[in-house]
């Protein structure tokens, strides 16, 4: 029977992903109700110097694995280092942000430790001293509640869902021994978009376009910029070649949970709805008053998006 909670953080050049703060905040909440300890783990080259920004989210201990071989994320090295730490400290629960890297890592780690993993969870609660994890399946058409048998239990949490809460306390630091072994994969190049581009899965606001745009996304991009949001697309818009695959929202694309999702010229195919139905507020703009998207929306506008969007952009600018 393990004790304590591990949070595996994720950072790129010293900047932590937002989901790492979400994982720490949730970890603190669970550790408090279990009266157990929260440990944050940082891996990377120069990781020892990165603990400070994590402290205000309340870890009791920050463990750092600082080694040149960990400068870039590689599945095997990260799995090996974390698995060693887990075997030494025997935590009850390991929380990992379900980013792309987090999904890759958590799945490999679960197999390495022969542990149960609840992937891409949107809620965690404790019932009779047991963790119950809620995870969307079938692209969000169904919510599955699961328990994980044995320890450690691993949970990967969906980005943008859990709230961030500051809970500063005195934090101790420890260094992890690092012996990742020979590298099985090597990152030879990275092609990253500018840091200004907001990742769909982390965006607070998403403006999406579908068939109704006819491929013209200029107004959608302009509104996204005005609201500091990201641009998404329906499968049709991607299949037509109007937008890159990485913009696709839906059961066969990205599953997103922004605060505000504005669907423009999207009729609302069931597989699209599955990918955005956990958004806090959904606005639908469509010419067709019968479009199924309106049944999932909080606010609906029946109209021509090429007339309505410029007026909306105008109103948003007035607010600023």
């Amino acid at each position: 029977m393990g004790q304590g909670i591990f949070v595996i953080t994720e950072q790129r050049e010293g900047a932590f992903r937002k989901v790492s703060y979400e994982a720490l905040s949730e970890g603190r909440r669970l550790a408090d109700s279990k009266q157990s300890r929260l440990t944050a783990i940082i891996l990377g080259s120069g990781a020892d110097a990165l603990a400070a920004p994590l402290e205000k989210y309340g870890p009791d201990t920050v463990l750092t694995a600082d080694d040149a071989s960990l400068a870039e994320y590689t599945t095997d090295a990260y799995t090996t280092v974390i698995a060693e730490a887990v075997k030494k400290q025997n935590p009850e629960l390991i929380i990992i942000g379900a980013s792309i890297i987090g999904k890759d890592l958590s799945a490999r780690l679960a197999a390495r430790l022969d542990a149960g993993l609840a992937m891409d969870c949107v809620a965690i609660r404790i019932e009779n001293n047991e963790f119950i994890f809620t995870r969307p399946i079938y692209g969000g058409k169904i919510l599955s509640e699961v328990k994980v048998e044995g320890t450690p239990k691993i949970v990967a949490i969906r980005p943008n869902v859990f709230s961030i809460a500051e809970a500063p306390r005195s934090t101790t630091s420890e260094k992890l021994a690092v012996s990742p072994g020979p590298a099985k994969t090597k990152v030879v190049e990275k092609k990253l978009e500018s840091a200004e581009k907001i990742e769909l899965t982390e965006a607070d606001v998403i403006i999406s376009g579908g068939r109704g745009t006819g491929g013209k996304f200029e107004l959608i991009e302009e509104l996204a910029k005005a609201l500091n949001g990201a641009v998404g697309a329906s499968r049709t818009a991607v299949d037509e070649g109007w937008r890159p695959h990485s913009d696709q929202v839906g059961q066969t694309g990205k599953v997103v949970s922004p605060i505000l999702y504005i669907a423009c010229g999207i009729s609302g195919a069931i597989q699209h709805l599955a990918g955005m139905s956990t958004s806090k507020y959904i606005v639908a703009i469509n010419k067709d008053a019968e479009a199924p998207i309106f049944q999932k929306a909080d606010y609906g506008v029946v109209g021509d998006l090429f007339q309505v969007l410029p007026a909306i952009i105008n109103e948003v600018k007035k607010l600023k």
């Binding site: 149960g116 509640e145 994969t185 990253l192 991607v238 990485s246 309106f294 506008v301 109209g303 309505v308």
Partner: protein, 262 residues
């Protein structure tokens, strides 16, 4: 090049999913079953590699009797042979259990490369492929949109947040297919006819030497306690009117003052 593709049969993504009476499974009677869309990319990529470099493509899938349809579909696309892991005692396994079965099946045949979909669109677990790679002790490269193989080395373009990472590894490797890798072909009529004659073996957990204590519903580490429908949304507030300027003003007012989201 010996290529193995891991395939899962899933409900079509346009399906309405309903919860069964037991509260922990779904109603399967009226569903249309298809090859997991991400696995189609995996099959297509395997066929392209085979066409360029020669070799064989073996499809491995686990599931009930109807899973044969998914394997036949991949054979009709051009894969050479299939292995169907079919065992009532292994039904209901979780991701790790399935990974153990698939890895055991792969171990019995030669392989240089394993390709799988980056996730199955039913369970959304993103786990089975990584589990297979770990159990076989080979590198994994997930969410790949481009690959090149030369001299027993693979170079993959992997989707990461905010861009692409180019990752290299020595074969054998397992990689998972992300949308954008290719455009899968349709099975041709001659392909469908030929598929009927291709070798399709059926294996049980015992055939594969997998301990019955690690598979099946009762040995799940991740236990489903209940399935629920997502909470219903409040009914939609339609913004009324004809004039775009008034519609926009009304909508933004509601988002700003009522929802307080902008």
């Amino acid at each position: 090049m010996e290529i193995v593709v891991l395939v899962k049969q899933v409900p079509d993504t346009e399906s309405l999913i309903q919860i069964a009476g037991d509260g922990i499974s779904i109603k399967t009677d009226d569903l249309k079953w298809v090859v997991n869309p991400y696995d189609e990319f995996a099959v297509e990529e395997a066929l392209r590699i085979k066409e360029a470099k020669g070799g064989t493509v073996t499809i491995i899938s686990m599931g009930p009797a109807k899973t044969v349809e998914a394997i036949r579909t991949a054979l009709a696309m051009g894969a050479d042979k299939g292995i169907h892991i079919s065992d009532p005692a292994a039904e209901g396994s979780d991701s790790l259990g399935i990974a153990k079965l698939l890895a055991a099946a792969v171990k019995k045949i030669p392989f240089d490369l394993i390709i799988a979909g980056m996730r199955a669109v039913d369970g959304d677990n993103y786990q089975v492929a990584s589990g297979v790679a770990e159990l076989l002790g080979i590198p994994q490269i997930t969410q790949v949109i481009k690959q090149e193989i030369s001299d027993k080395k693979i170079r993959c373009h992997q989707v990461v947040e905010g861009g692409i990472a180019v990752v290299e590894a020595d074969l054998p490797v397992l990689f998972t297919a992300q949308r954008g890798l290719n455009e899968p072909r349709y099975a041709s009529l001659p392909g469908i006819m030929k598929a009927k004659k291709k070798l399709l073996e059926t294996k049980t957990a015992a055939d594969l030497g997998v301990d019955p204590q690690v598979v099946g519903t009762k040995n799940r580490k991740v236990k489903i306690t209940s399935l629920k429908l997502p909470p219903a949304r409040k009914s939609v507030t339609m913004i009324k009117g004809e004039d775009p300027a008034n519609l926009a003003a009304d909508l933004i007012k509601k988002l700003h003052e009522e929802a307080k989201v902008i």
